[in-house]
Symmetry: C2
């Protein structure tokens, strides 16, 4: 600390980062949104994700969501620096758009995750982390799916493809709606003119970014990290056979930290630029993404098992699959704990 003032790269020498930086960031994200929207429309715009030969719309949809998330996060973190009426009216619209555009991709990657897991559980050889560390033992090729695993895969394929198709239609409808055009118009205005408050251009952004970081820190500290740091604590599969069909309540605080981590990361982008992304923060975020994905995949397997008139072998495979994904949940918590421990030391 005593030497800090000698460091010529110390950002504190350059004066505080103010609302001007926020305006620049929001303009850039709005421009990014408009570019993605144009790309989406030029490429036909009939697909929002995943259709064969439709790489561009996938990228465009992802870019749309990417900028929407960042604008929405900045409106939240730096709320007092922005025109309140404008901000309050835009934020729910951005949340709606982000949610609507994300569903199709979510169902698609959930199905992919579950089918990959079914193959792995059937002994089909996929390159896993463990395989990379030591060569797999010369096991006989048990690669064919059992009847149960095959039927479970077909059932999940049917259910999640249906959900994905519906999400696709919903997204297409959304992109053609007047509600969407109103959001797009707002963002078009934002690309040239950011409605800052009068004092914003001279206000230091740091306290707001620090507050976002503190909220993350508090929420992460409240997580059961001691348990998560003990491998194989068997915590995530508690309630695995619970009669309550609601989502695992134990997952909610982790999902919350995932959102707070994102807010913190985007606030850092505003202050320091996107280039200086913190690798450990990204890794922690990826662990929480994996946590969310595995949690939802486990719920999808459990939900498929409640389909009437399925064969016992199908139900058995879905049970194994559910437990496998809940252990992925636990593994993701462990990975986050390991990462966060280092992160906290550094903070």
């Amino acid at each position: 600390m005593a030497q800090q003032h000698l460091d010529p790269t110390d950002p504190s020498l350059a004066g505080p980062v103010t609302g001007d930086a926020l305006a620049g960031y929001l303009r850039a994200q709005a421009t990014e949104f408009l570019r993605a929207l144009r790309q989406h429309r030029e490429s036909g715009g009939t697909a929002t994700a995943g259709a064969v030969g439709a790489e561009e719309p996938v990228d465009a949809a992802r870019a749309l969501r990417r900028s929407v998330r960042r604008i929405s996060a900045s409106l939240h973190t730096f709320r007092p620096l922005l025109d309140a009426d404008w901000s309050e009216s835009l934020r729910p619209e951005l949340a709606w758009l982000s949610g609507t555009l994300g569903m199709e991709h979510a169902y698609e990657s959930r199905l992919e995750r579950l089918l990959l897991a079914l193959h792995r559980l059937s002994g089909a050889v996929f390159p896993t982390q463990a395989d990379r560390v030591t060569p797999p033992p010369s096991a006989p090729d048990r690669g064919n799916l059992t009847v149960g695993a095959a039927k479970a895969g077909a059932l999940l394929d049917r259910q999640l493809t249906l959900a994905r198709t519906r999400a696709h239609s919903t997204a297409l409808q959304a992109l053609g709606s007047s509600r969407f055009h109103a959001v797009a118009d707002s963002i078009a205005v934002l690309a040239s003119e950011v409605p800052l408050t009068q004092k914003a251009t001279t206000t230091d952004l740091l306290p707001y970014a620090t507050a976002a970081q503190d909220r993350l820190q508090d929420a992460a500290t409240a997580l059961p990290l001691v348990t998560a740091g003990h491998p194989y604590n068997a915590e995530a599969l508690i309630h695995g056979l619970s009669p309550d069909p609601s989502p695992h309540p134990q997952d909610a605080p982790w999902h919350q930290v995932r959102l707070l981590l994102r807010l913190h990361r985007y606030a850092q982008e505003v202050l320091e630029g996107a280039a200086c992304a913190d690798v450990r923060l990204l890794t922690a975020g990826q662990a929480l993404d994996r946590h969310r994905d595995a949690s939802e995949a486990a719920a999808a397997a459990a939900s498929a098992a409640r389909t009437p008139r399925i064969a016992p072998a199908t139900a058995y495979a879905l049970g194994v699959l559910h437990a496998d994904q809940r252990h992925e949940v636990e593994a993701a918590r462990f990975a986050f704990q390991q990462c966060w421990q280092k992160e906290t030391v550094r903070m």
Copy 2:
């Protein structure tokens, strides 16, 4: 090393441990066997394990198996020091006896393990390691079993209780058989007179004990310990849905190390006395016991799921249970790896 000769407690100063120590150990174990057998007969001897109000037969049966295992292991490790004909004829009989007496207890503890897991998976609160580290979150009591979990429990109870009852009858028959009386007579002779070879009383036991340790070391080194040391490597559940109903081939080397560890431990007892039991060796052995128990429990759940005409909910619960026990297998490997790493540094 240079100071070792200054150490007055250095066992090398007392001269080598010879066949006399082996004879003393075998006499003690044989005496222990006869004591347990007498206790077993005095307590009625109708139960070999687990019956209500029959604590003594349980202890007696355990003591019988305990001494049989040690005699059998010593015959194996120090084979060249013992009369070959006698040794070769007694060893298969001891293996038969040990196996026969152990089955009832194995089925009993397998059922207990599976029912405990079903309750844990249903969210019924049991004190787990995690609970001890942090208090459980104020979760609503989801303690009641689902229909599927209850049915799975009833099915396992039926199947494993039947197996246990059969094992009980087999053990009772064995204890009344002429084959058993021949073994008991051999051990009675052993309690007073150990058939050592001529040179045995002057032969150093250490090379034989070291060879047993080397066999353990080699087998443990050949285990996939690098993978096992990565928590959540998802290795144990590979083939979890495999069409091949045979036991997991990946478990066999671990079972083998479990046996070699026991041989090493008993050889140490012969050389250094039972009192100086190595805590880390015991811990490693417990991890491998847990590995074996979880592996067999997982197989029992998978086997129960192949019962014809079970409900899908039952099959689902058995699938979750199977995966849970396979993760116990993986957790036990991790525990062994952690323990073995320290052990190897010390060796």
